[in-house]
């Protein structure tokens, strides 16, 4: 019974993996097509397959590393810091990630500022501003 369950689970996982791999493969294919049209070079199927396989394995590695980093920092959630640590090897990648990180941070700050304002307004007004605030915050 247990073995059957495990076997079924294995199969499930395996099929799940396959689906993920297929998704990656599809995305890699699209990207390669873009690059091909851009640089006017051809990509063979094997190349795309190889790239997608490598990408998949690297993603696995990244995930493990990220988990390790988070655990190393005694956290249970993976943070942008972990991601930055992961990307430190490649300078350009690191820069890119840092910039995006800053953008996101800024955006979050702005959001927080808006929420604070809304809360204050709500406190002043009772009902209508709350509705308006809710609508606004949704935006």
């Amino acid at each position: 019974m247990m073995e059957e369950e495990e076997g079924a689970e294995e199969q499930q996982r395996f099929s799940y993996r396959q689906r993920l791999k297929a998704a990656v493969h599809y995305t890699v294919g699209c990207l390669c097509e873009e690059v091909a049209s851009d640089k006017e070079v051809q990509f063979s199927k094997q190349t795309i397959a190889a790239i997608s396989e490598v990408t998949f394995r690297q993603c696995e590695n990244f995930a493990k590393d990220l988990e390790m980093f988070a655990r190393h920092a005694k956290r249970s959630t993976i943070n942008t810091e972990d991601v930055k640590l992961l990307a430190r090897r490649s300078n350009s990648l690191l820069k890119y990630i840092t910039e995006r990180n800053e953008d996101i941070a800024q955006f979050n700050l702005e959001r927080k500022a808006k929420k604070k304002k809304k809360l204050e307004d709500e406190n002043k007004n009772s009902v209508e501003p709350a509705e308006a605030g809710a609508v606004e915050s949704e935006d």
């Binding site: 390790m68 980093f69 190393h72």
Partner: protein
């Protein structure tokens, strides 16, 4: 039949077994040499037939059994026929296959047994004798390099024979003379008596006899001396037995395990003794003759005649060079090298062509590249030994030796040059490799900024300059590069070694950056073992199956754990041992 062997005064296991076999009633009719033919066969038949009745083909087997049994009676029962395996046969086989004498037993026990039994004609005796004869049988096979081994063995035998003469008063020590060199040497090396060999009896089953391992009797005194002294014979002249074998393995082993090969000690060059030159050369000659290094020693040995004193000095100088690597203030290398150089330029090129062991070669080559010293062998040995032992802390012993070399070389001032020569040497060591003697300067130049000696010798590019600030930094890399070339087992170009150093440099930089980042990631400023474990996990060394502790136990021998762990936890304050 009564086996007429003389009862031993001290019954050994073997003799007791024999007696048992001889006197016990033959329950199974396997008794050899018995006159009972039909009765025997009848007896043979019954037990065997009883066994065989359960099997098919009884008659055929009986007949074959008879024949077989008789055959077997005449020979040692090699085959494992089930019917034949009786306790008696087992004991017989034991007696036949076990070595004649045990190492533990005093020789006196063994001796009386073989000598009277030599004459015996009984099969057992002869088989036993054949066992004893295994020793002389073994000899011819071990004459591998008789030219090389003989002199060493001769010398060894001298000591052992003296020793054994004391033991065996009155045994046929006539085998002492070199005529029986091999026999006595081997027997002595096997810790067996002299009496046993040289019995020209046919060996019935040589394959069954276990060959005792050829062990060379270790003279503990010389061994300890070797450990403490360098290959320079500080020992009394009688101790010419400084077997290179004992030094060599320790050298290589010690070389490998040195973390840093230059414990810097501030030694004044004032400590100087004068080495006895003849004994020194004698020791060296012995070592060379034994040929544990298959240097192309022929031409070099020829040099010994004319260039001997210079060679001696060169040898000592080489050693001193090696010492100087570790001891900046030790005796004058350069000065010694100066004197020797003219002699050795030609041979130095030869020497450079060889790559015995990367480490030793490297050191020697570096030392010799400027000198062109012919004494590559000696210095290599010496440098190895000195290197190894230096790291072990037996520095005091070497110091005098090194400085004695200094004394011998006339007209050397050198202490300022010494100090300069050591950084020179340190730099030269990084170079590693067989460089032609003529442009040793280029060799040095390529790796380090060229520093030329002040007017001593043009090819000598040593500079009494300030020690470069990278010196400790590069020393470590140099060490690793040397290890690399050692394990490569092939000669390596200087450029490739530089490349290796560069790569190692980058690798370590990267490593330390990672450690720093990991520590910062955890909000710390100190690198802790957890950071290192994370690093190793990323490297793939530590996995879910293999933990850090497993790796530690696997790779870090206990002795070094005791050394390294205090270092690691010292909080960055580590000082070399004084």
């Amino acid at each position: 039949m009564a086996d007429s062997y003389s009862p031993d005064s001290e019954p050994t296991t073997r003799t007791l077994l024999r007696r048992v076999l001889d006197t016990a009633d033959p329950l199974t009719p396997r008794r050899p040499r018995s006159a009972r033919t039909s009765a025997q066969r009848a007896l043979l038949e019954t037990p065997s037939s009883k066994k065989l009745r359960s099997q098919t083909k009884m008659t055929a087997r009986r007949r074959s059994h008879k024949a077989r049994s008789i055959d077997r009676l005449a020979h040692i029962q090699a085959g494992g026929h089930l019917e034949e395996q009786t306790p008696r046969t087992l004991l017989k086989n034991i007696l036949l296959t076990a070595p004649e004498s045990s190492i533990v037993l005093p020789e006196s026990v063994v001796k009386p047994v073989p000598t009277p039994q030599v004459v015996q004609t009984s099969r057992r005796e002869s088989s036993r004798g054949s066992l004893e004869l295994q020793l002389p049988e073994v000899e011819p096979s071990t004459t591998l390099a008789p030219g090389l081994l003989a002199p060493g063995r001769r010398k060894q035998r001298l000591r052992l024979s003296v020793f054994q003469q004391g033991m065996d008063q009155g045994l046929p020590l006539s085998q002492e003379p070199y005529g029986n060199a091999d026999a006595s040497s081997i027997t002595s090396s096997l810790n067996l008596t002299f009496a046993t060999p040289l019995q020209p009896q046919s060996v019935k089953r040589p394959g069954l006899a276990r060959r005792p391992p050829t062990r060379r009797a270790v003279d503990v005194g010389t061994f300890l001396q070797d450990m403490q002294d360098t290959s320079l014979a500080l020992a009394p002249p009688g101790d010419s037995l400084r077997t290179p074998v004992t030094t060599l393995p320790t050298d290589t082993v010690l070389e490998d395990t040195q973390p840093f090969s230059q414990p810097l000690l501030g030694r004044s060059p004032t400590v100087q003794h004068s080495l006895p030159c003849p004994s020194h050369s004698g020791a060296k000659d012995v070592e060379r003759a034994v040929g544990h290094r298959t240097w192309s020693s022929g031409p070099r040995l020829q040099n010994s005649g004319p260039g001997k004193p210079a060679q001696l000095m060169a040898g000592k100088v080489e050693e001193v060079d090696a010492l100087a690597l570790g001891f900046p203030n030790t005796s004058s290398n350069i000065s010694g090298e100066d004197g020797v150089e003219p002699l050795q330029n030609g041979v130095g090129e030869e020497a450079e062509g060889r790559m015995k062991e990367g480490l030793s070669m490297r050191e020697v080559e570096e030392a010799t590249e400027a000198q062109g010293s012919a004494r590559a062998e000696e210095p290599e040995e010496h440098t190895e030994v000195t290197e190894a032992e230096g790291s072990q802390g037996a520095i005091e012993a070497k110091e005098p030796e090194g400085s004695s070399g200094d004394e011998d070389t006339p007209g050397r001032t050198a202490s300022p040059e010494l100090a300069s020569s050591t950084p020179e040497f340190l730099r030269a060591r990084r170079l590693q490799f067989p460089e032609p003697a003529p442009p040793p300067s280029t060799a040095v130049l390529t790796s380090e900024p060229p520093e030329t000696l002040s007017a001593r010798l043009p090819p000598r590019t040593r500079i009494p300059g300030p020690r470069p600030r990278q010196d400790p930094y590069k020393t470590g890399l140099n060490h690793y590069a040397k290890l690399f070339s050692f394990y490569a087992k092939m000669p390596m170009e200087k450029k490739s070694l530089e490349m290796v150093e560069k790569c190692l440099d980058k690798y370590f930089q990267h490593l330390c950056d990672d450690l720093e980042v990991f520590a910062a990631h955890a909000g710390r400023k100190t690198v802790r073992p957890e950071d290192l474990e994370l690093l190793m996990r990323r490297q793939g060394l530590v996995t879910d199956q293999v933990s850090l502790h497993v790796l530690v136990e696997r790779h870090l021998p206990l002795e070094y754990r005791q050394l390294l762990i205090p270092c690691a936890f010292s909080g960055n304050s580590v000082f070399p041992a004084q």
